[in-house]
Subunit: 258 residues, 2 copies
């Protein structure tokens, strides 16, 4: 029973320097989760020399002289169990996991290229979405899982606040929170960010670890972002939010939160 | 005079298949721009085998046993003229250009990893932003240039409309339009998207090319997205929009458009 009650967490980390803040936060998360009785596996993408680019080499059965249709090629290889070993291993880790933690430096308002390449190559048609799995935005393909984005940001927090010039953090991360995770059926929590990391003195690093610990402790209990389900009756057949579903005055990306 | 009046366009393309829709749209754009008298250079990232991941190899002067601080390393190498040859060549093309066209398939609501890697490695601290260049969001570092994102999207257009479940296209592309381009001082135009590309019959392909041609013809005349300038008096010292600057009822990312 004790074992069944335990939860599995996959931590994906994306920084080239093993002595970086991101590496330290990854180590901290792994230790903290294990101390709390979680099973933890880590994908350290730089250490793994993760291949970032989707190309024909991803599809061993693809005839070299045939035009590569990426979506169709992914689906065929996924359903036939003929993905490359590196991609198959990451999919197995995702299926094993109850929660996913992505630890990364925010580069150009998104993930580093190597992590985008993990997303592009692992979240295949046929695995994370597509006609052969349940519908998107519905706890379908990878439902029953949660995710926490944990990012380090050079800028100060005010610049990512509601009126901050970079855009509010939730909107900036929408392509990942809603577009990647929730699309695949994974429930994202509010992201965790450490700001002002260009120069992070020891006391702010200690405070960041403490705040991160509280977020990790709540990985399976905190309320996820209340995104709407595609199949819950809020959207029409053209995938538009039906009139009158939102609170008056709601605009833009906030429309898609209940 | 004729020669001075001519404009330079850098087209960056990111698809692994030379017979893909994206490759066809790239070829079309290049031919169309040249026929209109533009000087055009192309960075075909897959053909160039572009290295996607930022790592210590990007900084030839970095001592192997020293901790790599990516931001500081980029700035030092940029200011010293000691970036790798591949990155320096792309920066030279950007400086040569009057406009930038990014042609890519939308993968996971963003650019493919190889294009993210072009962004991460080419838009260095010291070149596209940072203390040694003019302030961001101000036609500073790369000011005087325009950009057009041209993307192919598997989903239908309604799903990216104002009430579409994926989020409206402008919000989904905010990290690129505002976060990358405008941050570096480049004025983005409204993005160009071809939707429903999973199956694109010949007549829709022809219509897409015609629509693309009109956008390319207006590359130097269309009004750019009216993003606010950081230095124009709309933001406080903490980079938050000052109260009362927006039209009543404006919310979220729209706050940052004039």
């Amino acid at each position: 029973m004790q074992q069944n009650a335990s939860k599995n967490v996959l931590v994906v980390s994306a920084h080239p320097e093993p002595r970086s803040l991101n590496a330290a936060l990854t180590d901290f998360a792994v230790d903290h989760l294990r101390a709390a009785g979680r099973q933890v596996r880590v994908s350290d993408l730089y250490a793994m020399k993760w291949k970032a680019g989707v190309d024909a080499d991803d599809f061993p059965d693809h005839p070299a002289d045939e035009r590569l249709d990426v979506l169709a090629g992914q689906e065929r290889a996924t359903l036939a169990g003929r993905l490359t070993a590196d991609v198959a291993a990451e999919q197995e880790k995702l299926l094993w996991s109850d929660a996913l933690v992505l630890q990364f430096p925010m580069w150009w308002f998104s993930v580093p290229a190597i992590l985008k390449g993990w997303i592009d190559r692992v979240f295949t048609n046929g695995f994370a979405y597509g006609p052969s799995v349940p519908p998107p935005y519905s706890e379908g393909a990878l439902g029953g899982r949660r995710a926490l984005l944990s990012t380090t940001v050079g800028a100060r927090e005010t610049a990512f606040s509601d009126r901050g010039i970079h855009g509010d953090l939730e909107s900036v991360l929408h392509p990942l929170q809603h577009g990647l995770l929730w699309f695949a059926g994974i429930q994202p929590l509010e992201p965790f960010a450490v700001y002002g990391t260009v120069d992070l003195p020891e006391e702010r690093f200690a405070a960041a670890k403490e705040a991160y610990a509280r977020r990790l402790d709540a990985l399976f209990t905190a309320a996820p972002v209340p995104y709407r389900s595609l199949t819950g009756g809020d959207y029409d057949h053209a995938m538009r939010l039906l009139p009158g579903r939102e609170a008056p005055g709601t605009r833009g990306l906030d429309l898609h939160r209940r």
